[in-house]
Amino acid sequence: MTTYFRSDFIASLVSILGGVVILGAYLGLWWHPPANGIELYVRIGIAVVLIVIAMIAVGIFLGVSDRDGLKSDEREALVGVYAMRNTCYAYSGGVALVFLRAFDGMTAMDVAHAMIGIIVGAEIVRVASLVWYLRRGV
């Protein structure tokens, strides 16, 4: 597995984790739901910063430990394209669903967290697709 593929895969996992933390707070599983939009933006901002820091650390670690490793591979690139196609299906399906429900009394906070849920769901689809196509072939 190339360095790029591994860091790309880990980026998806880290994004899923960040999204789950924010959604869990909204659902009251841990922490407390955001009181207003500003607090939500701050939480998302912190999550993005932490994700970026985590990816920089992962990139440095992989770059050092895999110094002579292959940078790209044609099969992994093709797997990535197929996985991204499935991710786009998940994004469009999720957005369509939120569109339909948005006029049924969803608050702005509900819509915002639904969009975060779409991102988490689409990234889960992407990770699963990467594993599936890598193991089963394209």
Binding site: M1, L70, D73, E74, R75, E76, Y133, R136, G137, V138
Partner: protein
């Protein structure tokens, strides 16, 4: 399982004929991962034209000596 491409290959046999070359050595020679070479040998992946030429150059044979069309003529 994904639909197998209708292309067969003799990569494994050619590796064995060339001093039992390892999958890793072939992968490094053509610029792909070992997993990609494994997938090629198992028929789960058809390489790009460039990689097909690189493989044939490693073994010193023509592309059609490495790869062959396997789909039945009436399909």
């Amino acid at each position: 399982m994904a639909r197998r491409p209708p292309i067969g290959n003799r990569i494994r046999a050619l590796r064995e004929q060339h001093g039992n070359m390892s999958q890793a050595a072939l992968a490094e020679a053509i610029g792909v991962t070992r997993q990609t070479v494994i997938a090629m040998e198992q028929g789960r992946y058809s390489p790009s034209l460039e990689s097909a030429f690189r493989i044939s150059r490693v073994f010193g044979v023509g592309v059609e000596d490495v790869f062959s069309w396997t789909e039945p003529p009436d399909s």
